[in-house]
Symmetry: C2
Subunit: 338 residues, 2 copies
Amino acid sequence: MSGERPRPAEATERDMDRKILELFRSRSGGVVSGEALSTLLGVSRTAVWKHIKNLKNLGYRIESVPSRGYRLVASPDILIPAEVSAGISVRRIGTHVVCFRETVSTNTVASHLAAEGAAEGTVVLADAQTGGKGRLGRRWESPPGVNVYCSIILRPPISPLHSPQLTLLSAVATAEAIERTSGLVPAIKWPNDILVNGFKVAGMLNELSAETERVEYLVLGIGVNINMERDQFPGDLRYPASSLALEAGRTVERIPFVRALLESLDRLYDEYLLKGFSPVRDAWLARSAVMGRRVKVDGGAGILAGTVEGIDEIGALLVRTAGGSLERVLAGDVSLEG
Amino acid sequence: MSGERPRPAEATERDMDRKILELFRSRSGGVVSGEALSTLLGVSRTAVWKHIKNLKNLGYRIESVPSRGYRLVASPDILIPAEVSAGISVRRIGTHVVCFRETVSTNTVASHLAAEGAAEGTVVLADAQTGGKGRLGRRWESPPGVNVYCSIILRPPISPLHSPQLTLLSAVATAEAIERTSGLVPAIKWPNDILVNGFKVAGMLNELSAETERVEYLVLGIGVNINMERDQFPGDLRYPASSLALEAGRTVERIPFVRALLESLDRLYDEYLLKGFSPVRDAWLARSAVMGRRVKVDGGAGILAGTVEGIDEIGALLVRTAGGSLERVLAGDVSLEG
């Protein structure tokens, strides 16, 4: 297979950075002596100094405290595994995190990792994407430093026909994370958009590898416009788009957002494996922008109009037409009426 | 990506073999002089002689006719692209054929080729499989020289939810090829078994790579027991199995079978792209072993009993229960009653 591959170079170096950050965070007052760091990490004082310098370069504010050591004053909002994983409480999703400063597409990387056998719950993040993918071959704007581009590998024991259930699950988790970290009230637009105040702030693009009756792996791709500025949106977007910061009127930190997202995903997925689709469906319907509303659906072959009555077990939208028949919509663009 | 990969080495050599066979077949009486072969192929008389020797090693019976040249007396029943493609009439499926004497699994090879961008219609064949795959991780018995193990790459412009339609299409094509080459009357057992006289003679294992709303590629895997002897079946088979030869009481040639299979697939797929699922559904229902019959379905979570009324657009079996409700069955093992 050709194409982009992750380069987990300097894994032990990164591991050392993570351990140093953990030590800072475990101390009240946050001061750790160079000697303690050297002893606890089993490296020389010079090596400790090099790692401190490296962390400062990454944006950490670390002060020297005369005759006492070092103190961590502030952490930057950069996507590195040490920060994403710090203190996160998950069973499966986020136990292994890979971060890129830039990659073609986190979904592409995650698909390659999954094909090579990466464990369920592996998360791929990037600060920027050079070939971010949207629905149906469209582009997903992926400038550096402001948004979240995240892909998660799942291996659910289900038929591929049920895989849209996980798309709905990822939409619910994203909506929860937006609510918890920004205070905004998101709505889910079938099948995979997240709206705030009617503007699209997040989208899902999931990839599937399966045999006829069982999924080999799913990659949940989640793109969220966090701190994107108005002039960073292209003029030709299909839907009116916005970012959490624009809607909330304040900067939203990315690391807490990613942690909230992974925790929601993990909890919902755990519940899904235990209890099936029902809880996800209920949560989805509760946050749905279309439930009970009159809609028009452009399914490519024609336009269907009616009132949304729910979704079925394969994620199809159930639409009651004026004639009284209940239609199952498997794919299409939905617009609200009235 | 690790694992098995095709080695299309000696492509030009094989191409030369194919051209020589075509020349033999284009001549009435089948005699071609060494000089004519040399001139038409643009190679030396020594090279012609080497290729004739090579074809003899492959099992072709080629006679020297004194002062006239060579004559092709008989072709062996071996799976090589030159034989599979000879005189085949297809639009898409079978325009590119790759054959292996032995491989792990033709589905695995085809999936790798598809991921690397192989064209729609590419066909992978093997004389033997060392890791032949059946449904749900089961093994597919794949001894050398007697059966057909075939995988086809498709790139239909459909939603992954509709991909079971292609499983049904491959079952119809396999049933047609069995009928045309053996005279037997096959029946299709939902979702993907082919029965003759109640014995399973063929199975389908399809693999899918997709985004939420569109298929990237499908691999149709088709295994057919052609000339397998009774003592070649393992004792612990899940279903009673047989081969075309055992049921027909005579040897069935593999090359004509593969050609018939690819031609049926090609014709049905062409019709599918033009007219949608309806013709496939009608053909499937006409050959179905379960249509109108009382069945029990073991879907893992429980047993459902009722009468089969058809299949819907995502390939679900429609079963009318004694209580009168119409149930949609997405996965499970079906057994006939009464």
